[in-house]
């Protein structure tokens, strides 16, 4: 497929540009990355956890920490691929300036997707450390495997978000995507409570959503819950990443190369 004809150095150059911008404000950005999950885990994990005790057979703090890790990977990648990418595409003309070089549109999309996933990994690592300090990680021997899964989760969310970005007329449009896709996933994909508490049809629906599969991978890696069908979950995330990329590359070409 034409979209997958990518020169790695071109993708890396786009990634690097975004990294250099991030580096300038890294300290402030990292503070947010640590602060937010710390408050969540402290407030909900301890506060709510005190009443709940255990959920799904593990302490609520551990249950919640793995869920927050996944939802933050989703949020971080989605924000980057919507708002920040839109600024580069529409306001600053960054993509157009890159298109004057040998780099092609699908390489810009791939670089943006990689970068958004990198940001998921950065914020995920921060949460990982906070969760570790607050006792949210039970299985240290498999826990580090969660990091590559966070990156994959970032790719899975950045792809579709970039496709939305490519058709969006303005920043306001992104609110629909949050209300219709991101928030429902945050609430119904097993971040705060196990899926089996949902009615059957909702459980079925949740199975086609990427966040469910991210949770199904990451929670067992961090806790004593058993890991089942890991390759199915990896495949679903990879499918979202690849399909999102292909669609985004196509839509961005349609928008910019008229």
């Amino acid at each position: 497929m034409k979209a997958f004809n990518l020169i790695p150095n071109h993708v890396l150059a786009v990634w690097r540009r975004n990294f250099l911008v991030w580096k300038k404000l890294a300290a402030v950005s990292m503070l947010g990355n640590f602060g937010d999950p710390f408050l969540y885990l402290l407030g909900l994990g301890y506060g709510l956890g005190h009443y709940i005790g255990e959920m799904g057979g593990i302490p609520y703090m551990a249950f919640l920490a793995s869920g927050i890790l996944c939802s933050s990977a989703m949020n971080t990648a989605t924000f980057e691929a919507l708002y920040s990418a839109f600024t580069r595409m529409n306001q600053q003309g960054t993509w157009e300036s890159i298109l004057a070089t040998p780099i092609r549109i699908q390489e810009i999309i791939a670089g943006e997707q990689m970068w958004a996933a990198t940001k998921s990994l950065i914020s995920g690592t921060a949460i990982f450390i906070v969760a570790g300090l607050l006792g949210g990680i039970q299985q240290w021997d498999t826990a580090l495997l969660a990091l590559p899964v966070i990156f994959l989760t970032g790719l899975a969310f950045a792809g579709p978000a970039l496709a939305i970005c490519a058709i969006s007329p303005s920043y306001d449009f992104f609110l629909y995507y949050f209300t219709l896709a991101v928030t429902p996933m945050f609430l119904f994909c097993g971040v705060f409570y196990p899926l089996d508490t949902l009615p059957a049809f909702a459980q079925l629906l949740a199975q086609v959503l990427p966040l469910t599969h991210a949770v199904a991978l990451i929670r067992p890696l961090l806790t004593e819950m058993p890991l089942t069908m890991p390759w199915l979950h990896v495949s679903v995330l990879a499918l979202y990443a690849a399909a999102g990329f292909t669609l985004a590359a196509h839509l961005a070409a349609r928008r910019l190369l008229r």
């Binding site: 540009r17 157009e96 298109l99 004057a100 040998p102």
Partner: protein, 305 residues
Amino acid sequence: MTGAVVRAKGVRKTFENREVICGVDFDIRAGICFGILGPNGAGKTTLMRMLLGLSPVTEGDYTLFDQPVSETSVHSRVGVVPQQDNLDPDFSVSLNLKVYAGYFGIAVAEAESRIIELLDFAALSARGNDQVSTLSGGMRRRLMVARALINNPDLIVLDEPSTGLDPQARHLIWQRLRSLKKQGKTLILTTHYMEEAAELCDELIILDHGKILTSGAPRALIAEHVEPEVVAIRGLSNELDAVELCEGLDIRLDHVGDTWFCYGIDARPLVARCSERSELIFIHRPASLEDVFLKLTGRDMREEA
């Protein structure tokens, strides 16, 4: 090698069922400055975007270095100065150049020595560490020219390079562009400043409604399309007044708003008549590219303008 950097043969572009480029043919020889002139909406930008692979060609052969324009690998030999400022606002002056060098895969050491040269060329050496947002309009445009040169291109494409600049800044840009031509680079520029085209271009085309109206060297075009002398007059009461003023002289009349343009081979007798009427404000000058442009593209206001 064919000797031509760019070739267009029967190039057409249809945009939502509207033909915006209606079959144009031209060649751009290596080492010249080639101008694409035309009123707003004539198709200049579309022609440029197609050349840079930013807009698919609907029909015809359009080649850049003997490759179809859709082949983006030739961009390593091209530098682009867009009309709209798309410098990276998050970076300093030199980091803008450094990151851009990265897009071409230029090695860091090589990029750094080029950046020093280019900042010097753009008269920005003292501003290397400053944020782009602190630069004036002229400085930003010079930085964009420097950025377009980071890959040492053979061809430089400029879209309205001096629009919005003050005269000092404009002359500095022109001087830099001339020095690039001396280095043997090929330049393509779009503009609707006739003065700029006359100053810089060896050859040009005048485009309107997606068609080439004429092409050639600026002087040749003036000789071909208009009489050598012009008297521009304000203060005439009506058309009859203008006709009477030129009575018996070999003068062609034309007007834009309240200004009458009187073209002739020798305008001195007309100047003498004008001098006798104190209410007239007039100027006697050699014909310019602007006269050719206005004659060919019409003097009426454009709705898109």
